[in-house]
């Protein structure tokens, strides 16, 4: 397990460092078209080959990682914060507040927000930079993608409220805000974090799917989303396995994130919280 965690941290660190230093280490600017070498195989000049327009795939992957690794967690953070606020409020207050929040959650979960995303693109000025457009897209995704998580967090609140140590804590005379801060919140850390990690890949992929509608990252900016879309062109993959690099990197990063967060679910937070109390 320890080796695995070290490995995971290494992967994450190396990926993050490579992405952050993309301008320094990328062999070429991401938009530079080497028009004489379209669809080239990996070589010394192009370590991962080039795309149809002769752009260096490695450089595009590095820059794409930069954008996606920065923005998807931001969107996930936003979504998780909203979900936590809504879920905790619903679970703690109960009654009408809970009913109201749950109704909103259900609404948010069921409405076709695709149209809102399309409308936002229409309202945005035509000449916004690629970075602005992609940031707005991710923020919107975050602002809309919290409903499922809110329900799970609210359930977690309910089950923590009922759990033995809460009853014990109450019996010890811990009440109100103190009970909330010392007992409830620490015990919600795990489910809230789980929702956070869970939503990162969701946002990464949502951006990829939106690209088809012209709402994601637009040319020439690369992102994991539009690099992954390239794979839908499945029939060329067998001949050009290096094109799988973005997918492999994505899976590796996600696995590492998983290994690094909650390494052993059996170490209960309940016990620790009670011990601290």
């Amino acid at each position: 397990m320890k080796i695995l965690r070290v490995l995971a941290w290494t992967i994450l660190t190396v990926t993050a460092a490579a992405a952050l230093s993309a301008p320094l280490i990328a062999p070429a600017p991401y938009e530079k078209q080497f028009r004489e070498f379209p669809d080239a195989a990996p070589s010394r000049q192009f370590p991962l080959g080039t795309d149809e327009l002769g752009r260096d795939r490695l450089s595009r992957l590095l820059y794409g990682t930069r954008i996606s690794l920065l923005l998807a967690p931001s969107a996930a953070l936003l979504a998780t914060l909203i979900a936590a606020a809504a879920g905790i409020a619903a679970g703690v207050f109960g009654g009408r507040v809970e009913q109201l929040i749950l109704s909103i959650v259900d609404l948010v979960a069921s409405l076709p927000w695709l149209f809102l995303l399309i409308a936002v693109r229409a309202v945005m000025p035509l000449n916004v930079s690629g970075y602005t457009s992609v940031a707005v897209t991710f923020l919107l995704l975050g602002a809309l993608g919290w409903a499922g998580a809110a329900r799970v967090i609210r359930s977690a609140v309910l089950s923590v409220k009922e759990s033995g140590f809460m009853i014990e804590a109450r019996a010890l005379g811990i009440r109100g805000l103190r009970l909330f801060v010392t007992q409830l919140l620490p015990n919600l850390r795990a489910p809230v974090l789980a929702q956070f990690w869970l939503s990162i890949p969701l946002f990464l992929l949502a951006e990829a799917n939106l690209g088809v509608l012209g709402l994601g990252v637009s040319e020439p900016l690369p992102s994991w989303g539009n690099l992954l879309l390239d794979l839908v062109n499945h029939h060329e993959i067998a001949d050009q396995p290096w094109r799988l690099a973005p997918a492999v990197l994505l899976v590796m990063v996600l696995l590492s994130l998983q290994a690094v967060q909650n390494p052993d679910g059996r170490r209960g937070n309940g016990r620790r919280a009670l011990a601290e109390a």
């Binding site: 329900r151 759990s163 969701l202 679910g265």
Partner: protein
């Protein structure tokens, strides 16, 4: 009986609001009411003006007249498909129901099994299998999964099951991650630990201590997973070429077909609301029983 009546009232009110939000979203999305024939060079100026004459576009009035017609059982006609909406929905519903149910069931059984073995009994191999599967699936766009399914299953005896398999694959990672978390947490509770310490058999601890502790959020998860399955049905049915509700929803969205979208939005909202409400009722009953 009172929670049921109150809950029903809440569901109906939420549905009405959802419908109106849906009308607003579609009505104000760019390209609403456009017609590609407007660019047909054969048409005269008068014909193009005729195409552009729109019916009432006030969203409140649109919604009101739709509701009134719907109350009389008239769900209108889809503009993009030139077919009564009621016919379209009743033709396509059974297919999606079948594939969603089959997909959900498969995903639940698989996820619960893996999560139980890994969290309830601390089997690392099961955990790694589940986690690896989850991460790979989470990293694959639903569209990509559907394309692959289509490639491998089309023409085989499993072709008809492709949407169900797709839905199962799309729902599984969410179920597994949540279940793993929930069961793990329940397994870490003090009374479980002390039960282990007392030398009670793991199966008994799991059934008596762990599972009941994780039950309420698991039931809530069941509600959420219905919505997840419906969401996954859209890209999967579209790509697997399966003429169900999901494919219909995508066609309606791309053509801004409000008449068709509105009942779909209401249906999805209703399913979500009812599933979640039922989950809440179950949790509530348990509370009373406890």
């Amino acid at each position: 009986m009172r929670p049921l009546a109150k809950g029903s009232l809440r569901i109906i009110a939420t549905l009405l609001i959802a419908g109106f939000c849906g009308v607003l979203l579609v009505r104000y999305s760019p390209g609403f009411g456009t017609d590609e024939r407007e660019l047909n060079a054969h048409l005269s100026g008068e014909s193009i003006s005729a195409l552009r004459v729109a019916a009432d576009t006030n969203p409140a009035r649109m919604y009101w007249s739709w509701l009134r017609a719907a109350a009389h059982g008239n769900f209108g006609e889809s503009e993009s498909l030139n077919t009564p909406v009621a016919t379209l929905l009743s033709d396509r519903f059974p297919l999606t129901l079948r594939s969603s149910l089959a997909g959900l069931l498969t995903a639940w059984v698989a996820a619960l099994l893996l999560a139980t073995i890994s969290r309830g009994f601390g089997r690392r191999v099961a955990d790694w299998t589940g986690t690896a599967l989850t991460e790979v699936l989470l990293a694959s766009p639903a569209g990509l999964i559907a394309v692959l399914l289509f490639l491998f299953l089309d023409g085989s005896s499993l072709a008809a099951a492709a949407p169900a398999i797709g839905i199962a694959l799309a729902v599984f990672p969410h179920l597994y991650r949540n279940q793993r978390q929930l069961l793990g947490e329940a397994a870490g509770r003090p009374h479980v630990l002390s039960a282990h310490a007392r030398g009670i058999r793991p199966l008994r601890v799991f059934l008596r201590e762990i599972l009941p502790g994780a039950m309420p959020p698991l039931v809530a998860l069941a509600g959420t997973s219905v919505t997840l399955a419906l969401g996954a049905a859209i890209p999967i049915e579209t790509i697997c070429d399966s003429p169900g509700i999901g494919q219909l929803a995508w066609k309606a969205a791309t053509s801004r077909d409000l008449e068709l979208l509105l009942p779909l939005i209401l249906a999805v909202t209703a399913v979500t609301l009812i599933a979640n409400f039922a989950a809440d009722l179950v949790i509530g009953d348990r509370k009373v029983a406890a």
